[in-house]
Symmetry: D3
Subunit: 248 residues, 6 copies
């Protein structure tokens, strides 16, 4: 299972930059039938209110440590998946880490964050915890995690694989998936449906824009969200008068 060879156009990635996470998540769940799209418990620990993270997933997997194996990882440099993963990040990629939800050792800190940033990565998402949060917040890279711990990887974990399908926030992440994150959380979009998802979301946003106006005027939720009966016509008229013709 690898989705890195499925192309996603810059136009689609550009559209995704403009859509908030809940709109994408609702569309994936209800319109597309992909229920497992929103990461649970993975919080926006380092991100600006106006910032949005969009990128293709690179994955990394940790399991609890075994003493001799973790010692070998630190003595020999031949196989250290967690360090190799950093050094292979390409511009626009998001590093997604499955640490099994472990709260007992941080898998990312200030230094690793800076290296992902320097390589042009778009962000880091952790099913586990980080350290150096205060310092990470000064880097500018969006980072999502379940919380923080003071000590690093070898307190409890060891890395065992890269570029594999993983679990993160109780949902699947396949290498090459599109990851979108903002202050409302993180979602995962299978790349082959990204364009369709973006277009449905655009339409839905127009519907919400109109509904906000109507709700402010005192309209009932029954009538305007979604638009029903006569309100459906009013919405369609508003759509065309505002140059927002249906896209689907």
């Amino acid at each position: 299972m690898d989705r890195r060879n499925i192309p996603v156009t810059p136009e689609t990635l550009g559209l995704l930059q403009e859509i908030d996470v809940p709109t994408l998540s609702g569309t994936l769940t209800q319109a597309m039938g992909y229920r497992n799209n929103y990461m649970m418990g993975v919080k926006p620990l380092a991100i600006q209110l106006s910032q949005r993270m969009v990128g293709r997933a690179r994955t990394l997997r940790f399991i609890p440590l075994r003493e001799d194996l973790v010692a070998a990882q630190y003595e020999l440099s031949t196989s250290r998946p967690h360090r190799d993963a950093l050094e292979e990040i390409k511009p626009g990629e998001v590093l997604v880490i499955d640490a099994g939800g472990c709260l007992e050792a941080a898998v990312i800190g200030d230094m690793f964050t800076r290296r992902v940033h320097a390589r042009g990565g778009s962000g880091i998402v952790i099913d586990g915890v980080l350290r150096d949060l205060s310092a990470i917040r000064t880097v500018g890279l969006p980072v999502f995690a379940k919380g923080m711990h003071g000590s690093g990887i070898p307190r409890a974990l060891m890395s065992v694989g890269r570029d594999q399908p993983i679990r993160c926030g109780d949902i699947p992440v396949i290498p090459g998936d599109i990851i979108v994150g903002d202050t409302d959380g993180v979602i995962v979009i299978p790349p082959h449906i990204a364009e369709e998802v973006a277009k449905i979301c655009q339409e839905h946003r127009a519907e919400e824009e109109w509904a906000r106006i109507k709700l402010a005027e005192g309209a009932s939720i029954h009538d305007v969200y979604p638009p029903s009966g006569a309100f459906r016509e009013e919405f369609e008229a508003w759509l065309s008068s505002h140059g927002k013709g249906r896209m689907k």
Copy 2:
């Protein structure tokens, strides 16, 4: 069990606007013998530091979905408790939602929040999660919940009842209860004791105001909180000299 027919005077509601949640909670627990008054795990996700939510409870209840029943709720408009509840909110009411603590689907989003606000509701409290938090924070309505998810109700839940006694944050909420919330959390006051509670709290606040002065002067907690021995007299004197005669 319904407490909506028990009147609470505007004076009492006004008093409650001035008392912080911990003072109310402590009074309910220790002075009145109502231990289950503070909601656990329900966080102040959308509220200003100076804002206080006071209102009578309207309730709504969700359970995990059954596929055919939730489909019927979305196809037919005859019985959709979660939407009907919104459209019956009256000015000054707080919508309290029992979603069984479910973290897997949001029961409130931007649109529903705007409708409660437009109808004059005082706030929303959720034993579950919400979506669109960034947008909700711009509405101005106080909203409390256990966290957030990206997708809406039909990912995991369906509404099954309104205006029933419910569980929220591990305590009971009966329709008509008084709900008070601020940045320190949410509490529930049975309406028939609201006036008494407000008056005890007023007195307690005077005691705390005086104790803060004494503690700043270096007094021992044994002496001044609560005032004991000679300090009791000093406190009584301070009370009358500041026009804060005992109220009970």
Copy 3:
């Protein structure tokens, strides 16, 4: 087990004031072999971004209440460990409270916080919850806890001991231990190794300072964190040229 008689010099305490919690935690775990040094789940609820709490531990222990015993604690003043603990705090001490992680009653509120502050205490750390968070944030004392509840101690707990070894955030705290807290969490340092820990951290900070420069220049994490091969020499040169000779 009591570590209060182990002296720690003002110089060491001063060094600790300048080192962030993750650096201390990593050093304790990896360089010193003390894995249980970082408190899990104990959050920086009341602290400034630039503030650091450093002090010697005084401990207090709560267990679930028994009705007759808690009543006696409130009627008689002869033995109330939680109040006596407050009145014995000395300048520079941190009150560390084992409430068994209880979320159902707050063990610290506005008044108790003010008293610790007035006595010159350096902070409060709670394996449990607090109340009056909004008010506590105005006091200026660093306070760490697992969350908040509206009601006080006698809703669920009673104090049973002071100056005993306790559990807090899943790690041990022995009276006299050094407690350090900042926005990245709280750690515990056995006093007899404090000086060595501080010196290792100083060196590690220099290494990180240099690595940040190199990472900004595009260097690989393999080369500079930690410095290896030719980069080790470059780092040593940088160290001497910046007057940061090795300290260990």
Copy 4:
């Protein structure tokens, strides 16, 4: 939402008596599209290895207690849903109780179990805990719960409703649903699909009976579960030769 008026024939109920819970659950999930059919965390605490519970659901709902309301429930006999529910159980019904998963007070004990048994009830299922387990095991009625506690309802709970849709074991239960339980757990069948479910299960059981024979002979799981290629023909032949023609 009430399913009590949907008839289920004695023949269908009889068929369900012969099908184990996992076979029913798998069919509901995969063949019928009802994912929420198996109760999680609700254990077979009192049932014989050969026993199977089949019946229509009567529901009862508890929430955390409020001191004055629970006192009224025990002083006045006008409204005590948990007792009234017992006295309305009809032969063949299963009492399903939503106690919100509460582990702090038992909602069923020896006496209540005996009364349900005496009225001809088929069993009791609790999203919460029971007491008197040793005694209950001598009654002969199947009882499922999350565990046990020593004290009864008024330690933590009060009953607030009967014959309402409820949550139990993280799935929905609607009054009139068919409840089936055995040592492998408890499932819920919407009554309008019960006959179809029973028939699919009968066929699936034949498939499993044949597959067990083939697996014992050393056949590959790829070939025989489900039967594929030439093995499909062999299975069909076996079916007819054993008088188990397809039923659907």
Copy 5:
């Protein structure tokens, strides 16, 4: 807080041997007002169906380990509370252990269980886990715990105190308390009320004995549990005719 000096007569201890745990727990909660009497999550892992454990509490407390302190405990024999506690157990005492609910290291195994048994102890209760369960079950001593782990104390814990008030199963245990355990769990009785509790329970058992007869005859729970109206008289008559006069 120590209750070891409060005498309990052999007659009272004898009465307690005949009363099951749920009857004691219900009486403590409802008749005596002691809510925190039943240990939650502490399971009867090694006890016979007919066996009942009754004894006075000796307590032992563990916290997470610190590497140098636990090493000292194993090298020097001067202070090892967990071993000293075993060697001070007196006939009829129950060892109650607060391991903070830790599931990561067993605090009791086969050897320690044999030593408590050899010294005449009545049982062991653990807020944590044990090892060697298969072997422990052959000893004959009742043992209650939260589960099992394969490794012993120094994997995660160290002992720090004996004969102190502790938390076990979310309730308080004071040295000298009466501990009663059977297949329905473990409860704690403050010794100064033990005689009264035993007598109320005796009466309640008579009421239950009579109610069982009436329920088998088809009586309503409203009428016979507790006996009300005319049934109260019938019960009183039954009581005297069976030589079970009221005891209170």
Copy 6:
């Protein structure tokens, strides 16, 4: 990371058949320094009291499902790791499954268990749940899991890898590791230390055998576990007189 090429002699495997899990776990933790050797929360659901499972690990990994990928797994037979894993089990191997602790779908049932048994596998260990427990118990193969669910894999999961390092019961499992299970739980032994571990355990068992005799005679735990002072000599004498010379 693969340990399948590290040979373990039949003699060592034979020795391991005679040693109980807690003895192995304690030796791994304390004598060998491998703390992560005992699986937490993985229960002996299907095993006889006298049975012991010993074998080399084959691993299988699941993550939460994605709708299109799981559909493809069921339609095409080209890549179905969970089925391929079954068909590659060799005599003496144990199938260890990482389902991320998921309680919402069973990954093993009656049929899969029979196939592992038919292929000569030694057992199945699941970090997740199973179905058909009643039927599985009749197969005779040891099976360990966290609990049970009624429905199978496609309710919540999909398989994504075989023969990879995995997490199971909060510890690491590397393909080729030795897995030992009995009624006291499951442990993992790195194969290169298996012989040494077995020998230390043999000696430890002699020590325990002797200690049991001494404890039955009333000896103190201080003297005999481990044997100290004069008792050390007595133990050594007992060892030689019983033909149990030291083995290390």
